[in-house]
């Protein structure tokens, strides 16, 4: 209480009542603890993780950064005045000799193949993780048997494990086991996304309106018919939305998998970097930006087209 403010007896009593109310107020302890922990983690990260860019204050590194920035300028234009004609000529030649456009095309295709495989896997396996279908008596509230419960748990855990490992690590491991081709990258992307789509699709199946499915069941449909002849078409709209939602991410990931040595855009970017051709590296990164933005626009367009129906 500030000195300038005289406390009357009424104020004191009221403050006591307020303090009592404050003690009894509902508190979301989980949230509080989480936020405090995150704050602490953030501070510790900067102190213990040695994140402060101290090197920026040191002369040699600053010169390094300046030199790097200078080398981002297209090679024929370094030290020259800017000329759009020369620039266009350089872009054309670079895209030809780094085969950047071909790599971009392959990146696009790799993402398509991976997401289609992931979606197929999700469509086939997700019913086994859905509470309403993978149960002793589908769509009824009858008590479940332990066997079915365990099956669902295992399927769900499988989805979690699939998406727990980053695509990059999966591809790294697969490359050592499979002969050199695009498959390690395709499979790594497909596996990670299968985990994500599988979980989302089984949730969609669980949340389907029970009425029509139940009457199909009463009419004698088998479990498989329920899942694929009725459930799949009903949940397809959602699944497609998710597929296109993930597609953009797939293109980004497919790009960087090239760093491991598979021919996508990342491969030529890494190649340019190792040769210290920073100008070419920047151009190829910008090409990947165009590719991702195009994929993003396409997936937004298709999602909207599907939803408008």
């Amino acid at each position: 209480m500030s000195a300038s403010h005289a406390i009357t007896a009424d104020d004191a009593a009221r403050l006591a009542r307020v303090a009592e109310l404050r003690r009894r107020r509902p508190v979301n302890r989980y949230l509080r603890v989480s936020l405090v922990l995150c704050g602490v983690l953030g501070v510790v990260a900067w102190i213990a993780g040695d994140l402060f860019p101290r090197f920026l204050f040191d002369e040699a590194s600053r010169r390094n950064v300046a030199r790097f920035l200078g080398e981002l300028r297209p090679e024929p234009l370094q030290g020259e005045p800017w000329d759009w004609g020369v620039f266009a000529q350089w872009v054309r030649e670079t895209l030809v000799h780094t085969r950047g456009l071909g790599d971009a095309w392959r990146t696009f295709n790799l993402a398509v193949l991976a997401i289609v495989l992931a979606g197929t896997f999700a469509a086939l396996v997700a019913p086994l993780g859905a509470r309403t279908l993978a149960t002793r008596d589908p769509l009824s509230d009858a008590p479940d048997t332990a066997g079915w419960r365990w099956l669902r748990r295992v399927v769900r855990l499988g989805f979690v494990l699939l998406r727990a490992l980053p695509e990059y690590v999966l591809a790294f491991l697969l490359m050592a086991m499979l002969p050199s081709s695009a498959w390690p990258a395709v499979l790594a992307l497909a596996m990670h996304n299968a985990g994500i789509l599988g979980r989302l699709h089984s949730e969609t199946l669980e949340n389907l309106p029970a009425g029509p499915l139940r009457s199909l069941r009463q009419a004698g449909a088998t479990r498989a018919q329920l899942a694929f002849a009725a459930g799949f078409p009903l949940a397809l709209g959602r699944l497609l939305l998710y597929v296109f939602y993930r597609y953009e991410t797939c293109v980004r990931e497919a790009t960087v998998l090239g760093i491991l040595g598979i021919r996508t855009l990342g491969y030529s970017i890494q190649d340019a970097r190792s040769k210290l051709y920073y100008d070419e590296m920047l151009l190829l990164i910008l090409l990947s930006v165009v590719l991702v933005l195009a994929a993003d626009a396409a997936s937004v367009f298709v999602r909207r087209w599907l939803r408008r129906a």
Partner: protein
């Protein structure tokens, strides 16, 4: 078919045709991709050496190492090393996310429609404001569309192998994504409270922060947690570029053919992700209605 087929078709929505068309299109594109890409059927069958590696690697899946496979007196205890790798992964992810949250909050506010709407003014001013917002959205799209590993390639070339370069590489694309999602969340908030604050004479900033942000906060926090989970994966992968996180240890163990150690790192990474996933799932359950 069954009697209720019509009901089912109705529930499916109006355009099974569009869905079928998209499905067919995807299949055709996938087949085309099979032709374009270097994907022979033989690529799915491990080569002789690959079989050997796979056998040895997969054979040790259930026996992750608890100590070095080839012990050396100078080494620190193996599990201590794993724990340190995991801790460094968390630290890098947290550092990247702390920067990303700043980028996301600032860009999110100034790129949202809610910040710019109802400002009145004449044509020129309105156009100027519109172009500022459009420019910010473009910046966000650029930040998002370059993968964190490509940012890392750039920054490692510029700054060398420093934790700051790695954290910045995570922070930029994550910051862009957070900004986009935050702006969408705030824009979806009902405006009643903000308008009431405006009627009391609140400044635009107060109106935004106290009238709109609190309502969006539960979604914002839940989403930030989800991204934190993702940033753990990204931080682990940064190890492949020499930043000492779990990915770095994993790569070295792999190159040493110490497969049981590799599994330890794989399980450590998985456990870390699952731990944070459980944490953020708990938060969503208790916090977001």
């Amino acid at each position: 078919m069954a009697p209720d087929a019509n009901g089912a078709r109705r529930l499916r929505g109006g355009a099974p045709g569009r869905r079928a068309a998209v499905l067919l299109g995807l299949v055709v594109l996938a087949l085309l991709a099979l032709a374009v890409l270097d994907t022979p059927a033989s690529g799915l069958v491990p080569s002789a050496s690959g079989v050997e590696v796979a056998k040895r690697f997969l054979g040790t899946a259930l026996r992750p190492a608890l100590d070095y496979q080839e012990a050396h007196p100078d080494f620190e205890p193996f599990l201590w090393k794993v724990a340190k790798g995991a801790w460094r992964t968390v630290l890098l992810a947290a550092g990247g996310m702390s920067l990303a949250l700043v980028f996301g909050a600032v860009l999110g506010v100034f790129s949202s429609d809610a910040w710019w709407e109802d400002r009145g003014g004449r044509g020129a001013r309105r156009a100027a404001r519109g172009s500022v917002q459009a420019a910010l959205r473009l910046v966000i799209a650029l930040m998002r569309s370059v993968h964190e590993l490509l940012w890392a390639v750039l920054f490692l070339a510029a700054f060398g192998l420093t934790p700051f370069a790695a954290a910045l590489a995570i922070a930029i694309p994550y910051g862009g994504t957070l900004a986009k999602v935050f702006a969408e969340m705030v824009d979806e908030e009902p405006r009643a409270a903000a308008h009431a604050l405006r009627a009391m004479g609140a400044s635009r900033a107060s109106e935004y922060v106290l009238g709109l942000v609190p309502g969006a906060m539960s979604n914002v926090i839940a989403y930030a947690f989800y991204r934190f989970e993702c940033s753990l994966r990204s931080a682990a992968v940064m190890g492949f570029f020499g930043i000492p996180t779990l990915g770095y240890d994993l790569q070295l163990a792999w190159n040493d053919l110490a497969y049981r150690e590799v599994w330890t790192y794989v399980y450590a990474m998985t456990a870390l992700v699952l731990l944070f996933e459980a944490w953020s799932a708990g938060l969503r359950k208790r916090f977001v209605a």
